[in-house]
Assembly symmetry: C2
Homo-oligomer: 470 residues x 2
């Protein structure tokens, strides 16, 4: 549906050709050079490798996260950008021991237990040190849990078995599949706690079937007790559902995460000053922090790396943008969004100077164009960019009405036009927030294609004749 719509939006000005804006021939030529250079350069790939392999997981507040801040800042300085670190106070949640086993279930061999693979949700409180042992109540949905009534839930561990729709994801609707299921990750613990549950579990929000749990943030409601919460590997959730259909299932659960005091971290902000309108800013960005289980390759070393490559290519080709291009490596997208919020607050007096904001945070699958969060009447102005990108298979402009990046969300909410690459995300949620989000998942060809989209889009926006509608 969305693709069809985008096609129509792309196609119509080709018919009504007079609407199309004209870019200066020199700009078109520069965009083509950028595009070809991006497709041939492995800078982003090498940066991704360094962030994942040499530095590792980069959860907010960790030594690795702060090391990555220094690393990116130094790389940008080395390229000649004006770099500063913007202080961001971030939450400091530290994963602990996480073990679970079924201690009672139908058909059980004497004196045996069934190991359960799970991982604490980000922000979860701990169980008591000795763990919790309680019966498991299986709920297919929030409505199903309500229908069971407080009596059947109080004192028990709730398991929400709502499934991430893998087929929907494979059909190109990964984001929709994610949104359908992620509500249980965010709100499940408080919903269960209000009914007296002692812990809340979910079937992992993701498509892997390799005994791999997916973490991610939860949100405790103000009006509910805070109970421990974890995500089970899909297999383990299905196992419990099978056993609970036959009789009583009891689990021993131990989670020992800690929430430490907020700590100082940073957004990395690196500018290429505009030659004609330096006060107007085009942000190109990804987030530097990651979850702690993997090494944050797809989420989101690749996003940072293509933003870095945009600067690297502009410098390498000796291009001079008219507006200021600002590379930002955001801190704390995963569990607080403090980086995006802090930037917005610090720059509240001149939000209007932000010409456009770009973020890449859905992996590095083959891009087919870009998402544009602004009035579709901007289409003729943007069409020349799409025309350049079409030659590498990325010529779609998909106009959307939702924010296209979490860190740039506050700016988008304030009316700044937002952009992101339009990518193949069919397998993205198989790895997202898991231990398997590692460097080997990055396809170098597809990453280069993303670098081409981002660098062309960024430079074009920085040199766009005229203004975008707000």
């Amino acid at each position: 549906m969305s693709v069809t719509l985008a096609f129509i939006l792309v196609a119509s000005p080709l018919i009504a050709g007079q609407q199309r804006a004209e870019f200066p021939a020199e700009l078109i030529e520069e965009l083509r050079r950028l595009q070809q250079a991006a497709l041939a350069d492995d800078y982003a790939y090498r940066q991704t490798a360094h962030l994942c392999n040499n530095i590792g997981p980069r959860l907010s507040g960790s030594a690795q996260a702060e090391h990555s801040v220094k690393y990116v800042a130094e790389e940008m300085r080395r390229l000649g950008l004006e770099v500063r670190l913007e202080k961001v106070m971030v939450p400091r949640w530290v994963r602990g021991e996480e073990t679970a086993a079924l201690v009672e279930f139908p058909g059980q061999a004497p004196a045996t237990t069934h190991k359960i693979v799970l991982t604490a949700l980000g922000g979860s409180v701990a169980t008591p040190a000795e763990g919790i042992t309680a019966e498991v109540v299986v709920a297919r949905s929030f409505e199903h849990l309500q229908s069971l009534g407080r009596e059947k839930v109080a004192g028990r561990i709730v398991l929400f078995t709502y499934r991430f729709d893998k087929q929907m994801a494979e059909q190109g609707l990964a984001g929709d599949a994610y949104l359908q299921a992620v509500g249980y990750r965010g709100a499940g613990a408080s919903v269960a706690a209000r009914m007296g549950a002692v812990a809340s579990l979910i079937r992992s929000v993701g498509g892997a079937d390799f005994r791999l749990p997916h973490t991610g943030s939860l949100r405790y409601a103000e009006d509910a007790p805070r109970i421990p919460a974890a995500a089970l590997a899909s297999e383990d959730a299905d196992l419990i559902a099978y056993l609970a259909d036959q009789g009583r299932v009891r689990m021993r659960l131990k989670l020992t995460p800690q929430t430490l005091p907020d700590t100082e971290s940073h957004n990395v902000i690196a500018d290429i000053r505009g030659s004609e309108r330096p006060e107007e800013i085009v942000i190109v960005s990804g987030h530097l922090d990651s979850w702690d289980l993997g090494t944050g390759a797809l989420d989101d070393a690749v996003g940072v790396a293509v933003a870095m490559q945009t600067a690297q290519l502009i410098k390498k080709l000796g291009l001079r943008p008219r507006r200021t291009i600002r590379v930002i490596a955001w801190m704390n997208e995963e569990n607080g969004l403090r980086g995006g919020q802090t930037y917005f607050e610090n720059h509240s007096s001149h939000i209007a100077n932000h010409f456009a904001v770009i973020e890449s945070d859905l992996g590095a699958g083959h891009p087919t164009g870009f998402n544009a969060h602004l009035d579709p009447k901007a289409q003729p102005l943007l069409q020349p960019i799409a025309d350049v990108l079409a030659s590498s298979g990325a010529g779609i402009i998909k106009f959307v009405t939702n924010n296209v990046g979490a860190d740039i969300g506050p700016l988008e909410n304030a009316g700044v036009p937002g952009f992101s690459p339009l990518q193949d995300t069919r397998t993205y949620f198989n790895y997202h927030h898991t231990a398997a989000d590692t460097f080997d998942k990055v396809n170098p060809r597809h990453l280069a294609e993303n670098a081409a989209v981002i660098s062309v889009l960024t430079y074009a926006l920085a040199n766009l004749p005229g203004q975008l509608p707000r």
Copy 2:
């Protein structure tokens, strides 16, 4: 290549029709009824679920393994078979703690480590209680390790990075891909130990890229020190190879498995006595033990379950085989092969009475026919079986010269014709010996197709007019 060859072998008698054996019409009718019943019955699927979900992992010597022996015996008795347990003394290896981290590597953030995901190989000795901390030496192959020389290996941890060829597996050559790589799992520890290494690691022998290590047995040579050995998730092996190219990598490794005294376990042997030649035996089998990480669904609850279903369908349809059909659930295929060896020794005086032996131990992918380990001149005798199976897409007879089952290997070595289903194994080694070998991996339709092949093949062999060549 193999498929083409099999096609020729199948096709030729259709031309030279006079060679084809004729089955009595009644037998053909019985085989067709068995086939249709198998395709419509979920008995094997339910048995697989019970073995995996209600009982769980079944490593030799474990309480679950012995519970599964009792369970299968009881099921077979309930169907009316003559059941006995054959005592088998099995190794008792118990996995312990297994943790590893890189404590030194290029680009490392201050005071950080890199977590390494691994699992001990079956039979591995433990590290000292405090673990081992040593430099990692990367070897692409045995030859590469030798070329490094003892000086660069002694006192270090060797990592063999030889890759399981996933593309080869996806092209239908999974067994070849496995055989190429598994030598490092079996022999790596002793090869490394002879050069003074303190531990031996391999890149997992399997196709998963979900941070999932594959266990399996190693073999310590008599002439080498026994050093701890483990398999790394493919990602972690690749990470170390990347880092070691840049500089020194040191690992802290802790493995605490125990090898306890051998313990008593059992093969389950369940007979449907032959009506005309009860002394002649057709074995239909799978192995009941599994590795401990997953729940042994594909390896090999499904093999046991289709053997059980063969008996269940014969009883349900009121069929009476001329020869004795012997269902066997083998013990200790994974780490000792004691069940198959014990059976062979116990029956050494009447091996010749074994008319044919069948084992299914490569999962439950869609079957396209069966493997036949005997003289291809048997082809006309077997062709009527293939003709029946062809109607459900499983009409290939693939004559092979290697053994087709590990537990039936001693019988095959003694000249007994061996058979196994010919299956789609393209994804089998993604799950094999991992925590993800769980019930949800079993496709019920494909399992039913396997049950059809195995039950038709078993009953046909038990009623085969004439004798098979040996």
